[in-house]
Amino acid sequence: MIPATFEYVRARSVREAISLLQQHGGRAKLLAGGHSLLPLMKLRLSQPEMLIDLGPVDELRGIREEGGSLVIGALTTHDEVANSPLVRERVPLLAECASQIGDVQVRNRGTIGGNLAHADPAADYPAAALALEAQLECEGPAGSRTVPASQWFVDLLTTALGPDEVLCRVRVPVQTKGQGWSYIKLPHPASGYSLLGVACLVTVDGGVCRDARVAVTGAGPKAVRLTKVEQALVGKRLEEATVAEAARLASDGLEASDDLYASAEYKRHLAVVYTKRALLRAAERAAG
């Protein structure tokens, strides 16, 4: 619980952060809210020799609307997302997700960029990012690029982010009328992370589901879309029996791991139950 010795520098711009990353190679780490990185350092599971604090980089802050999307700076805290009137109105699914992360202290410090870059298998944002088909904008020595959420999460704690890259912004398409949404989770009683969390976004037109996106976090090494469930819903009326039947597919092929608190089998079962409940909630909202 006492970290190993490290150097600390404050970056003033994304450029500077990138060049510091380049200078120090794999020995440096970016620091955002510190709520994933510092616990690991205290346990000495992570021992970076240098921390590059992104805190002063103003260009990584703020939420604005641009071309049918919200553009959310990587340093935006969970609390800011949860309580931003813009997010609540335009992408309520994201706000609902952010409001369930950890506790007040965690939400005041933790950032959306740090959360998505860290890619904890039980983190909440990944499920919402997948369901919302968010785009992640990164900058690196070679310039900037945009990675769709579907390609971002590679494996346990592993993302598509390059070694010298900074995740700068998350671009989230705004929700439209007729869309229903929901994020629900069973929190781990100790950590507060998702033992299992389900995000869903359904588009209903004329009482019929035109598009469904369902993503689950907490079960396996990374958050995933439940495409079989989605397919089973499209073209159907979202009635309880239909939803329950589709939700049954949530566990189909779902990678899940045992942990102290919940077995893989139980997590798969929870995926079914939570998918059903999240969808029913979303359907209700879609109906207005």
Partner: protein, 786 residues
Amino acid sequence: MAVTQVFGARVRRREDPRLIRGTATYTDDVTLPGLCYAAFVRSPHAHARIRRVDTSRARSAPGVLGVFTIQDLEGKVNPIPCGWQVPNCDLKTPPHPPLARDKVRFVGDAVAVVVAESRAQAYDAAALVDVEYEVLPAVVDMEAALQSTTLVHEDVPHNRVLLWSVKGGDFGAAAREPGVRVVRQRLVNQRLIPNAMETRAVTAQYNPGTGELTLWVTSQNPHIARVILSGVLSFPEHKLRVIAPEVGGGFGSKIPVYPEEAVVAHLATRLARPVKWAETRRENYLATIHGRDHITDAEMAVRPDGTVVGLRVRTLANFGAYLSTAAPAIPTILYGLVLSGPYRIPNIECEVTGVFTNTTPTDAYRGAGRPEATYVLERMMDLAARELGLDPAEIRRRNLIPKDQFPYTVATGITYDSGDYARALDRALEILDYPKVRAEQAAARQQGRYLGVGLSTYVEICGAGPSKVVGSTGFAGGLWESAVVRFSPTGKVTVFTGTSPHGQGEETTFAQIVSHELGVPLDDVEVLHGDTDSILMGWGTYGSRTTPVGGTAVYLAAQKVKEKAKRIAAHQLEVSADDLVFENGRFHVRGAPDRGMTIQEVALQAYLAWNLPEGMEPGLEGQANWDPSNFVFPFGTHACVVEVDPETGQVRILRYVAVDDCGRVINPLIVDGQVHGGIAQGVAQALWEGARYDPAGNLLTGSMAEYAVPKASWLPRLECDRTETPTPVNPLGVKGVGETGTIAATPCVVNAVMDALSPLGIRHLDMPLWPERVWRAIRQAKGGAA
């Protein structure tokens, strides 16, 4: 008459502003010139022989002042003794060396200690100490340990620490009575981690000029620490000063004297520099005591009308790897003797087998033995009710000790002071609106919803206690309490108490007692504690003893002050003391209210000493040592309503009602706070908390990311009420209230969940009632896989 209302008023805790604003001084806040830092090298193995310890790399690390192993401490730091050697139970007391000698016995056992200029350097260097281990098989499971050839201590066969029993009446005969049914159940009371908000710490300073050694330590009982450490360090007690500054909670985990305290104290003398050690949370989970950890086979013999005629209990109690300071008493006298609870049970038998395992040592954790006993009893009451088709409230009512039977001696031999148990039960049912709740439950069941109602009627034994009695149980100390109440010349009052509050709020309640007795403003009373240099003697704060024992001493000391002040006032007013009336802090002549003196004026006169009665010593203070004639027995009924989500197994508490009786109440706000906190911990054991080891003895719940400490937002609004039955044991009429919540809440919640699941035929599930466990039981009951 504001003054007379101080006793019983909802006075806000004077401790809180400094605690909340971060201006309190904890052990880790003590900074001294030349301070250096210790870090312990801890075993990663549950059981291993130490082949070799190579400290050379650590010694040459930056900032390192020294690296020490047991060889360096030989003859300087003695083994840590056990302070409660319960007699007649074949207690084994293998030595507990201050650092591991040939063997490590649990993950976290300290092997070496590094001292360096900074804390980070100390931890860095500790990682460089190279210990070669020969890993041995570990015994973790108690039942396996008793059968195993692997011994935690070579001289303790079968790993059996003790075999203790108590017998009152004849269970066998009662069980054979015609018509009597015997209900049986195995009950596991899981291991818990105390989780005081402040981890343990010690700062030690040796003054070579005076030869005085000062320790700031996270202790619930600094005087006990001083006595024990003077022995462990062979250091004269009068040269040893122990200060428990602000202590951030303990829940029992800061009663024991630990090896680290002795080692750090020794290093301060050895290096002639002040040394500090502060535990990390991970170390706290490994190296600070755990609580509970029982497996019990219980049998309750009950007549068809619900009369309980007997209880027989066989319990295995996990002691971990070493005997902690008070450990032997916890699962024996603090458990077996209280098994009768609030009921008339004529035949009780209890046999306890203590077991050493390669796990963290266990000791007192909030409630200490009494929650375990109450859990057994209250679960068995519900199982008996179910067996007989009786309402759980009804079976309790039929067995409660009637209020006109006190003092009442139970089958295990202890005598209860006072009580009106049925009244608390009735009040709880009334608040709950029991018939309505049962009707709602029935309606919910029709809709496939699983609502459950749980009850727990309890009695707690606390306020230890008569020194003679605890001495006869093997406690190596007394449990009386000291107090000094001292006026200063300007009329302010300082109270010195031998108790050592660490969050409970007695700085406020003791000031209330004194303010009430002496008629001085509350803010003019300062309450000091926790320093062996300023306090005569004390036995500390634990076991809900602080107010009934320490508060009584304060009250008696205040009486002495009042007596002396009266004599001075009488002398100066030139009347007989019998002619004086004391009212609102002022003595006046009966019938002549104008002729008087305030107690502050008397205080000044006492110090000036210009005109005192012949032969009277100057000054105005009172000193009292109070040794109670008996324990005190708070009691009550808790009730809750839960709903179980049958699809996920999640339990939600819909309502929680607590009716407690702790005798007279000095400060209702503080009593409520104690009850609230206790309920949170008790509920947490039922639903969330539980320390888990793997078969190799690794603590799987090694951090707060795995071990579930309760969160305020998970608890319902607590509906608290009280009945008030004063105790005749002390003049204040007060009983303890520090542990009632933890004692009552755990079975209350489990009973409610089992009640919810009863339509499925589920009889019992062990704690914690994690969703998966409940879900599996439901699935199995519905005919699916387990």
